[in-house]
């Protein structure tokens, strides 16, 4: 188990390095000048001074300088926001995204799992049909629609929660619910499919034949196996939810990390592009490792197979 974990961590590091190299090449080759503004040209002296200050005049040196910095969680200065370092920007926005993301995943699991289980158990019934319909809506409706609707109804008409921004606990529910809906729908679908698969298996029929009560059969025997696909989905889902959603952040004016994925690329803010990509990649790798470990714990066949 430990050897397996070390192996996964090493592979993760190599993956991270590859991500860095690819991102670096992309930010170098992309056309445009990060210091340019729409209507004003900068004096050449100013451009030279800025390029020297931000190590833009020597890409090879910058490659190693940035890498050395990144290992110490120092992602260098932001080109666009000159008073901030990329580390400060990420440090201020990541907790916001993590909070919303975790809340969203929690809501998604709390809604999705019971819905999936009940739908599977009462397959074809009114609950199953309604849930299937809602799942379809949840998966297909883009978050900017659900977000705007929630915002208009809950914040504007009912005045129950504040409109956008970040700072108090009241700012959390709306973006978290909006972000959770597609995840909840997908989890419900996965759980339902998994449960249906398991409910038809021989060992469950044996369990029922042995006279176990249906609650024990469903939650103790069937659910444990049916939950596995959900578990493997949760790894990337957590990373995705926690690194922020550009749309949800935009609609609710939440200062999370998601906006920087888009804005930093548009601003050609090299340090921030690479910083956000590395953080996202690292989170993705870490969550995948966590989920795989949990997987092995829930289903010992996996670790036995590896052993």
């Amino acid at each position: 188990m430990t050897r397996q974990l070390i192996r996964r961590l090493l592979i993760g590091l190599v993956t991270l390095l590859s991500v860095y190299v690819i991102t670096f090449v992309m930010v170098i080759v992309v056309p445009g000048n990060p210091f340019a503004s729409a209507d004003r040209s900068m004096p050449p002296e100013v451009v030279r001074a800025l390029e020297a200050r931000y190590s833009m005049d020597d890409n090879v040196a910058y490659f190693f300088q940035y890498l050395a910095g990144a290992l110490r969680f120092d992602f260098g200065p932001s080109f666009q926001y000159k008073d901030w370092t990329c580390t400060q920007i990420i440090a201020q926005s990541l907790p916001v995204s993590v909070t919303i993301g975790l809340a969203a995943i929690l809501i998604a699991v709390l809604i999705g799992v019971p819905t999936g289980v009940i739908s599977a158990v009462r397959r074809g019934g009114w609950f199953d049909m309604t849930a299937l319909g809602l799942v379809l809506i949840g998966v297909s409706l883009p978050t900017f629609v659900t977000g705007s609707m929630l915002l208009t109804v809950v914040a504007v008409y009912w005045h129950v929660l504040p409109i956008g921004g970040w700072g108090t606990l009241a700012h959390l529910p709306l973006p978290a619910i909006t972000l959770s809906l597609p995840f909840a729908a997908y989890i419900a679908r996965l759980t339902r499919a998994g449960m249906l698969d398991v409910l038809g298996s021989d060992y469950l029929r044996t369990a029922v034949a042995k006279g176990l009560d249906s609650r024990t059969v469903i939650w103790k025997h069937a659910f444990k196996i049916a939950f596995l696909p959900v578990l493997s989905f949760l790894g990337p889902a957590c990373a995705q939810a926690m690194t922020g959603s550009f749309v949800v952040e935009k609609v609710f004016s939440v200062p999370g990390l998601g906006q920087h994925f888009v804005d930093s690329a548009l601003n050609l803010d090299r340090g921030l592009v690479m910083g956000t990509v590395l953080v996202y990649a690292a989170l993705l790798i870490v969550f995948n490792i966590i989920v795989d470990t949990l997987y092995a714990w829930v289903d010992p066949r996996i670790s036995n197979a590896v052993a």
């Binding site: 056309p31 445009g32 000048n33 340019a36 503004s37 729409a38 209507d39 004003r40 040209s41 900068m42 004096p43 050449p44 002296e45 100013v46 030279r48 001074a49 800025l50 020297a52 200050r53 200065p77 666009q80 926001y81 000159k82 008073d83 901030w84 370092t85 400060q88 920007i89 201020q92 926005s93 907790p95 916001v96 993590v98 909070t99 975790l102 915002l151 208009t152 914040a155 504007v156 005045h159 504040p162 409109i163 956008g164 921004g165 970040w166 700072g167 108090t168 606990l169 700012h171 959390l172 952040e249 935009k250 609609v251 609710f252 004016s253 200062p255 906006q259 548009l266 601003n267 050609l268």
Partner: protein, 578 residues
């Protein structure tokens, strides 16, 4: 875990006396490097220059200094700094603080976009700036850390003070500050209110890189730790940002919230009604408008949304008195590539002024403004917004005239557009730019029979293409930096770095030079008007379309906040009367 992630979330935050919204975050609070309007808006409340902006007109009024005495030739300004001018830590503001700020703005390491406000006007500043830039260029090209670089650096550091002594900034004593100009500058007091010319408190020196050595980097740059604009204390005993304006910076969360609180040492602090001001960042203006409607926000300086024409209609019909339409000191235009024989291998017909005139006369700007933009932006044939600069009389122009346009095009050798290559139009995506470009393309196709190709690019690549003149026609816009026609006209001078059109006219350049030496305001105004006429009625390097109108929302209970052509808002005059 959720709680861990949720640090920073409180059960409640205290609302400031006055809350306004910025649709994007602050780019920088370093006054020397500030260029964006939203940054200027904060800076003029944190700092106070020798002049300040009047709340209604945005014209210059005395700020941290009394009105100066000016020599007869208009070249020497002697300011007396108010004895009660104080930094937010209680120390008096001195002439040395202004010299520190102005000098920093012309240092190559600061890379100030607006350094020209000082180098173009203060005697000796351009020479110092050039000398420093050349030295930095030389030092950068030497082997890093070599003995020769070190000795050159030491020699340069010794010479810096001697050279700077020749710049026309003199601290006669702590309160008397004498500025010598290189040429008469009738708008100099206006410049003194701009962030580039703010004083800087001496505590910044604690964060100077290499302060214990020569105070210079290996390349000879004077650089400060970029964290100096933060309100919290830093290394080397730096106390956090010290400012001399009506407010001091209390809290600054990246792209989230910036709080200013009254500077207790500011001379008018006792009478200021707004003790705290919050700037909130709302990435989506639609959400900001909802927050405004719900009363969470008192002021929206910008409401650029898809339905802003509807807001303008509500305002003009009197249904919403809190929504205000303000035409600003800005011109939206397109310019022609006047310099290059060919663009991307295609012949460039726009080197012929007749073709440029033809394209300009073929555009019905009234239709563009009234039927497409619909916000009420006044259509224009001028570069300098008429009526915005006191005493300046705009020249006569020629308007939409498709027959004359076709005649000129035929005269230039392209009857009915025949023989013209595909016309390449460059614009940056976002806002109304695509919509406007589409209308122009259709009008040119209809009136002149030309084939047009539109090239919308993201702003950074668009800027690069513009600078390298990879276009036949390109979108542009200009916000005036100071209340004088030259802020618009200088852009078309042959040697101006922003002259992306590549337009050159010895006559136009000569008129600008003559105006720069003219001390009589009437005669100066006439000369500038003649210069503008060359642009809009003869050579036509640009096609002016309209003067931009900004739609603002100010809650009816907010007093002392006035929309103005510069969109500058000194919050010290604001009060809330619910």
């Amino acid at each position: 875990m959720l709680l861990l992630g949720g640090f920073g979330l409180r059960s409640q935050t205290e609302r400031a006396d006055f809350v306004y919204v910025n649709s994007s975050g602050i780019n920088t609070l370093d006054p020397a490097a500030i260029t964006w309007n939203q940054d200027i808006r904060v800076a003029i409340n944190l700092w106070e220059g020798l002049s300040a902006y009047a709340p209604k007109t945005a014209r210059a009024i005395p700020g941290a200094a009394y009105a100066p005495t000016v020599s007869d030739d208009g070249l020497i300004y002697t300011f007396t700094i108010r004895p009660d001018a104080r930094w937010s830590n209680g120390e008096p503001v001195t002439s040395a603080d202004f010299i520190r700020g102005w000098r920093r703005a012309i240092e190559p390491g600061t890379a100030a976009d607006y350094a020209f406000l000082i180098t173009d006007n203060v005697a000796g500043a351009k020479e110092y700036y050039q000398w420093r830039n050349d030295a930095v260029g030389q030092l950068s090209s030497m082997k890093p850390g070599s003995a020769s670089q070190r000795s050159r650096l030491e020699e340069h550091a010794r010479e810096m003070e001697t050279r700077f002594a020749r710049v026309g900034m003199e601290a006669v004593d702590d309160q008397a500050f004498r500025v010598t100009l290189r040429r008469p500058c009738p708008y100099f007091l206006d410049l003194c209110a701009f962030p580039t010319l703010m004083p800087i408190h001496r505590s910044i020196e604690r964060l100077r890189i290499n302060r214990d050595d020569l105070g210079l980097t290996r390349e000879g740059l004077v650089i400060y730790d970029a964290q100096w604009t933060k309100p919290t204390p830093r290394k080397n005993g730096y106390p956090g940002l010290v400012t001399n304006g009506p407010y001091r910076l209390n809290r600054w969360l990246f792209k989230r919230r910036l709080r200013m609180v009254v500077n207790p040492h500011y001379r008018d602090s006792d009478s200021m009604a707004c003790r705290t001001v919050d700037m909130l960042v709302f990435g989506d203006i639609n959400t900001a408008i909802m927050a405004y409607e719900a009363g969470e926000v008192d002021f929206l300086p910008d409401t650029s949304v898809d339905y802003d024409h509807e807001l303008a209609r509500l305002s003009r019909s009197g249904q919403r008195s809190d929504i205000r339409c303000q035409t600003v000191f800005a011109t939206y235009y397109y310019f022609f590539n006047c310099a290059d024989e060919s663009v991307d291998g295609r012949p460039n017909p726009f080197i012929d002024p007749r073709v440029r005139r033809a394209f300009a006369l073929a555009i019905d700007k009234r239709v563009l403004s009234e039927k497409v933009i619909k916000r009420g932006d006044p259509p224009t044939d001028l570069i300098v917004p008429p009526g915005s600069v006191a005493g300046y009389v705009s020249p006569p122009t020629s308007s939409y005239d498709p027959n004359e346009a076709r005649r000129l095009l035929a005269e230039a050798g392209y009857p009915g557009g025949k023989g013209l290559p595909v016309i390449d139009i460059l614009y940056n995506t976002g806002f109304d730019h695509g919509k406007v470009c589409d209308v122009l393309a259709r009008m040119w196709q209809r009136e002149l029979g030309v084939v047009v190709s539109m090239r919308g690019k993201e702003v950074k690549t668009y800027a690069e293409d513009r600078r390298n003149r990879r276009f036949m026609i390109a979108r542009a816009g200009w916000y005036g930096d100071y209340l004088d026609p030259t802020t618009f006209l200088d852009v078309f001078a042959s040697d101006n770095g922003n002259n992306n059109a590549g337009y050159t006219s010895a006559e136009f350049d000569q008129l600008l030079t003559t105006a720069a030496q003219e001390t009589d305001p009437k005669r100066r105004s006439d000369i500038l008007s003649r210069a503008e006429r060359i642009l809009v009625d003869r050579d036509q390097p640009a096609l002016p379309l309209y003067h931009h109108t900004q739609i603002l929302a100010i809650k009816p209970y907010v007093r002392g906040l006035y929309p103005n052509v510069r969109l500058v808002f000194p919050f010290k005059y604001v009060s809330i009367e619910r």
